[in-house]
Symmetry: C2
Subunit: 380 residues, 2 copies
Amino acid sequence: MMKKSRFSIIVLIVLLWTSFASLQGQMRNRIVSPEVSDANEITFRLFAPKAEEVKIYGEWLTSYTELTPLIKNDTGLWSVTVGPVEPEIYGYMFLVDGLTVLDPSNPLVRRDGQRNASLVLVPGPASELYGVHEVPHGVLSQVWYPSPTIGKDRRMYVYTPPGYNKGKEKYPVLYLLHGAGGDEDAWTTMGRAPEIMDNLIAQGKAKPMIVVMTNGNAWQTAGPGSAPDAPPLTREDFQNFRGKFEESLVNDVIPYIEKNYRVRASKESRAIAGLSMGGMHTINVTTSHPDVFGYIGVFSSGIFQPDQDLSNEMLALQKSGIKKYWVGIGEDDFLMESNKRLLDALEKAGITYEYYENTGGHSWNNWRIYLSRYAPMLFK
Amino acid sequence: MMKKSRFSIIVLIVLLWTSFASLQGQMRNRIVSPEVSDANEITFRLFAPKAEEVKIYGEWLTSYTELTPLIKNDTGLWSVTVGPVEPEIYGYMFLVDGLTVLDPSNPLVRRDGQRNASLVLVPGPASELYGVHEVPHGVLSQVWYPSPTIGKDRRMYVYTPPGYNKGKEKYPVLYLLHGAGGDEDAWTTMGRAPEIMDNLIAQGKAKPMIVVMTNGNAWQTAGPGSAPDAPPLTREDFQNFRGKFEESLVNDVIPYIEKNYRVRASKESRAIAGLSMGGMHTINVTTSHPDVFGYIGVFSSGIFQPDQDLSNEMLALQKSGIKKYWVGIGEDDFLMESNKRLLDALEKAGITYEYYENTGGHSWNNWRIYLSRYAPMLFK
């Protein structure tokens, strides 16, 4: 066997494979973007000789209205260096003469509901939990389950911790809910929940647990591209789905998980947490079913209306006994007033809660932080 | 509880969530792209008032050099209608004054190795198997397994068929390998293997089976974004990985699967298939281990050199007994000569094979077709 020539053919195939990029006249393969320096500065580059103006929006910026301009050199290569920035995972995109353009030199793209962004991870202590490291990894599965409440099979993600396949142990379960605009992909793509759990478990900071990430949009069976075709919905259709997700969580999802996985099926072995709309789902389902979850986390507020009265339900929840009620929000979150109403209601009902307020607003940056703080408190 | 006002808040949050798009001045939320007509024409639209030239490349075109121009209207909206095209899944991208731009109105993006493309599915009989339908779905899992051969934990996808979790049945296994430039994501994102298997099994055309989709780049632990940071490799490093993937498949992957899943661990219950570089892996591993796989599929040729002599190994393979040797390739495939050498070698060794030649070349379009034809022949 002539291994050397065979290797050359592989090189040839790789070159053919990447020739499309060069045909685009972009010199893409020679452009490095993004490039993260040891000092946590990020350099972005885009080859666009005909563009008049190139700017970048990235999640390190605090405002959509002040984007960072790139500078063009005489070859038509635009570039800018930003930072130093905090170690984090940032979504970003270029605006080329007003047109949204993902970074063609960066294969990492993440979908947030209906739109996409390029992705850059700035390593460092603060983002250590979000990276993939050489630690034991859990299994992340896409699972379709029957939802009689909604009348469809629906899709969710199930994370089983390292070691699940080896032993006979039964595990506790965290039900982790996304916000409006997201779907069942959100906690794995933007939330980095599998990486966070792998790392927290490897460090001995969190108990090994199963994490179930559902689709909280009751009118969907799955996110874009993963759902069977269905006719468009009217506003009335949407209204008919109100409250259905919360019902289906208790009536369909939990029974499915407890039948098909090795789990401890008790209140003190069930936790729930949700962000924004998922926080509202969390408030709804824990007040309507006070005996189901022993641990409750509300991230960036659930939606709690001025005219909403859950005092009886909160009292019942208090009486039923809660191991931990945890509330986290950023000081600039636009749902801060709603969050204060939640805290008032908890206090009136005599529910002890732990409150964490940090900088920033309604962003995945904060939701990753909240999961990183919440998961270690569970099942201990 | 005031459900109506709570619903309004959700609508508000959704609006806030999507406001970024409107800030970009793109009128994105009003632009529909792509739009597939009943006649299988596809209309693409892009709002780019300052662009001088917008073209589109899509996989329905047979050449990278003849792209389709879009026409600008007086509001700055560019559009073009192509087709009718065959029912298929097509990757596409805009070229805006030479810059590669994914369709900002389309959330569906798929990664092919180092680059991304927007995605459109044209429904019809020919692509029926590639869509998500209301049929029982298998579970698709991302699994890390130890690879002592390569010295790392590595990532793969495991598809378990509908019903796997319910019974005690043992299943046969198909090991499905990607080509150069791809990684362990390729058969699920571009190959639509989970959808194809769900649909073939639902139609009674394929036996329920487990499908294992590995990463054939021995120097990687996982695809971009899913692997721990590692130093860049030299050309010598790459050479040292030659043949390691094939070894690890037999020494690491198969034992892991047969230990951790309910599988039938026998030659007649193991199938392998691979495309291009994965076809080469298939040829290598089946000739070096003739007793392992009962079914062998080579898609778009393995790489088979003029100076390569596998006659002894092929004879041993013939003697060991093969249930099915299946070869598929497109008439325009650039590896056709290599494919003919494979057929010659099979004939000289007296290995009966089934040959399928269709139109087209070295493309995922064909590899989806080959999987759709190969899987129904297995384990019968």
